[in-house]
Amino acid sequence: MNTDAAAHPRNEPSRTRSVSSWREHHGWSAADSLRRLAARPLGSLLTIAVMGLALALPLAFYLLLGNVQQMGQALGQDQAINVFLQPDQGESQARLLAKQVGDRSDVAAVTVKTPQQGLDELAKLQGFSGALDALDQNPLPFVLMVQPKPGLDALAVERLAGDLRDLRSVAQVQDSGAWRQRLDALLGVGNRVVLALALMLALAALLVVGNTVRVDIASRSEEIGVLLLVGASGAFVRRPYLYAGIWYGLFSGILAGLLALAIEFALDGPVARLSQAYDGKLHISGLPLWLLLAVPPAAAALGWLGARLVSAWQLRRAA
């Protein structure tokens, strides 16, 4: 009989061998946890589906909110600030003022509308042509149509309108600031809702993966007991469960990304029709690529965290 196993003194592993063995165990744990997921496809798919849906919801809201914001900006391009000059202001003064206003950093463009152009527009409106014929002179002033820089928030636009109102040669300023303010406020609420929803659903995903790993650990308590008795550390025992959490998270993140793309695809047609109604000014913007790429690793990290918290608690009880 070979007495090799008992005859030699215990050999402590060298550091290099330990690192290589540690890496090998990581590889084994990753593969083994994946095999275990595949061994019970229905349970694994359900967990991944629940997590995927939970993560897709904030993405869908983010997509919706982003597009509402973009639509607001697109429609807002028509919402120029109309600056009515004093009746005594002539064309040269109007053009000079238009240049001064146009030089401001918060102004994209300024168009001068002459009194004649204003009159012509009025004449096109039904019921006005007769009334205008009765006028012996044009009562309309020069109007500056000031287009704020795109992306300016409601407060900045309001500040711009206030500045224009303060100009001596200006009689009246007509601004659709209230409309912008309401949209901005609504988008602010929406952003908060999406953030709160994302946090709550991330917590839900954390609990889902945590519970799945808890059940997994409970069903393998005998094996864990053996591992601890033969000298396994907590980290060694935990490793396959952490990888299981990572797999659940990664796959659910991929699913969430695919669901978000499907929603984007589904919205494409109706938005195109809506865009046509607005002279092609509306365009649906998809989720940014960085976000789509970031979701799976972020979800994997979430899965790891859920598994880490639960396994640490379960193993403390087992030890």
Binding site: M1, R10, R17, E24, V226, L227, L229, V230, G231, S233
Partner: protein
């Protein structure tokens, strides 16, 4: 060397499993701990494996006070102790080879070294040809030998066994005890809890007798009749 110094163990509810137990097992000695059911044999082994802690007293293994072994020190200590259980405690979904390999994987040994040692241990217990089988396909005696191979593969300085022959026929039980004796001969300290008196007598090793948690006799090998 194992040293028990005035060790007591009380469980919740007041049950006293061990009472002021003091004895020493020198390095390289093989000893039996015997007594009726409930005498405290299993508790004694659990204290050695730091599965439980004593209520009073001090336990040392190779000069290390087990009371000071905490946290990450526990798995390191267990890697130095080979444990054999009555119910084998094998992982039934892993092959014989993987079961025996487990302590070496935990210890961080390289694959080649692990393979060499596992085959040596399996050869030692006569199961080399079973390495690819699952434990469920083996007999009870063979499963116990897999458990022994797993206990010795890490070359522990101390081997403890709790009723290792409890489910085996007398001939097989004697063979298993012979294996333990071989490990003792190469310098491993062996402590076996057993209530199989005829077998203990045949082995002619030191016997520590417990009764209701107290040490009632400590017989040297030559005193065992």
């Amino acid at each position: 060397m194992i040293q028990f110094d005035q060790v007591s163990k009380h469980y919740a509810g007041g049950h006293e499993a061990l009472s002021q137990l003091s004895f020493t097992v020198p390095t390289g000695e093989m000893a039996f701990v015997t007594g009726h059911s409930g005498a405290g044999k299993s508790t004694l082994l659990k204290l050695l494996g730091v599965i439980e802690r004593p209520s009073h007293g001090t336990i040392s293994v190779d000069g290390q006070n087990l009371a000071k072994v905490r946290g990450r020190g526990i798995p390191r200590l267990r890697q130095r102790i080979g444990m054999v259980f009555q119910n084998h405690r094998l992982l039934m979904d892993r092959t014989v080879f993987a079961n025996v390999e487990l302590p070496l994987t935990i210890a961080g040994l390289a694959r080649q070294e692990r393979g060499r040692r596992v085959r040596a241990a399996l050869e030692k217990v006569g199961l080399l040809s079973y390495e690819r089988q699952l434990p469920a396909t083996l007999s009870t005696g063979e499963q116990q030998r897999v458990g022994i191979a797993r206990a010795i593969v890490g070359r522990p300085s101390l081997l403890i066994a709790d009723e290792p022959t409890g489910n085996l026929d007398p001939q097989l039980a004697l063979e298993i005890m012979g294996l333990f004796a071989e490990f003792q001969q190469v310098g491993t300290t062996v402590l076996i809890a057993s209530h199989d008196l005829p077998l203990i007598k045949r082995m002619r090793k030191r016997v520590v007798v417990l009764d209701h948690g107290r040490l009632v006799a400590d017989l040297a090998a030559e005193e065992v009749l």
